[in-house]
Symmetry: C2
Subunit: 228 residues, 2 copies
């Protein structure tokens, strides 16, 4: 960013690489582009949240939401990772990873079989969110991450539900994306082998929504769902 | 398993629960059923492998394969987690997680929004595989995990490729599945709210295979791909 002045409203277009975010292998597949990172995060539903408990790693799938340069994860106040980030604690070192599998890559050689994927890895310290307004914002973001616009079309959490919900925050500072795109990378001497080679794209998107049996028959499918 | 004799060819139908595999929340969503665990593992392509480096958690997406009660992960001999499991080392504590997202669950209340998912979490110690025959078996399993039957229809790894590839093994001992299935769980007093509620299933499967541009035009799509 040499020579370019950054204002708070215009964050640098890339996250600064660190020792942890520069891979030792295939560095050409790594990216620090902020827009790319946001796009990968916004397309996912479940992240894999890693933390250390009793010296051993734990990786759990969980929903997440993004508000600008902050990710939010929530859960029951009784769940283990959320208990470990209480306000009295100095925060919990975490690694949060989101991955999309786009295609199977079938090469002529077993060695060059691969997957086209896009992933984001976030390193940092997670803190419990205690500010009521930030908690509301985070919970809306978690619902809107599942379906954009949905938080305005559902009953907000009441006092009891809020009391049962812990929210943790992870800032996007030490972040990288990693992706494999494109076709098959076979060795030149393998090109004449008789094996089929190519990509098998994974199907994306949604099947038709299935209304809850208890739904009033007059309830129309909302526009934000039809648009999915 | 009281009163039932188990032979090596008939493993117990369930993994024994441990402190780490019994969740503190929603224990009704946990399962230790061996067949269910295998089915969830076999349906996935990418796992999220967690380990501890310099005291902090790291979670990386990677391919995996299963042979009976063993999972295999491979990578370049130069990659970080694989360097950490060298034969001279006492193994690497890991947590390997596989998750499928099946549907978005839209409840009338924000609080009951959820995801239908199926996940498997494996805790254990990963060891480098050095036996040449087990390495071959593992690499075949990794290719066949992407597309069953594919290892027999591709060129096996040569000496140079084998030398560049590290394989690590994780036994399925401390394992649990966790899943949410079914419909919306709204509070009785919310049932009359005007919000649409129901499931939005994620589309599964594959789009049509895309042949490599360098493929001989006479190469037919193999049966194992047409069957996908």
């Amino acid at each position: 960013m040499q020579g370019t002045a950054q204002t708070p409203s215009q964050p640098a277009p890339a996250y600064p690489p660190t020792d942890r975010t520069v891979p030792t292998r295939s560095p050409d597949r790594a990216s620090y582009d902020r827009e790319l990172v946001h796009a990968i995060l916004d397309e996912g539903y479940v992240c894999h949240l890693g933390f250390v408990r009793d010296g051993a790693p734990v990786v759990l799938p969980t929903l997440y939401g993004r508000v600008g340069e902050r990710l939010y994860v929530h859960g029951s106040t009784g769940s283990r990772p959320l208990r470990m980030t209480g306000a009295a604690d100095p925060g919990l070192p975490v690694c949060l990873t989101v991955t999309h599998v786009d295609a199977l890559v079938l090469a002529r050689s077993a060695f060059h079989h691969s997957i086209n994927y896009r992933s984001v890895v976030v390193h940092g310290t997670a803190y419990e969110v205690t500010d009521p307004q930030e908690r509301r914002t985070a919970l809306d973001a978690l619902v809107d991450h599942v379906v954009p616009g949905r938080s305005r079309d559902s009953r907000p959490a009441d006092k009891k539900e809020l009391a049962a919900t812990a929210v943790i925050r992870l800032d996007l500072n030490e972040v990288s994306a990693k992706l494999r795109t494109g076709g098959v990378n076979d060795e030149p001497e393998d090109m004449a082998l008789p094996h089929w080679a190519g990509l098998v794209p994974l199907r994306k998107g949604f099947d038709a929504p299935v209304a809850d049996p208890g739904l009033d028959s007059g309830t129309a499918l909302p526009g934000y769902l039809a648009a999915l």
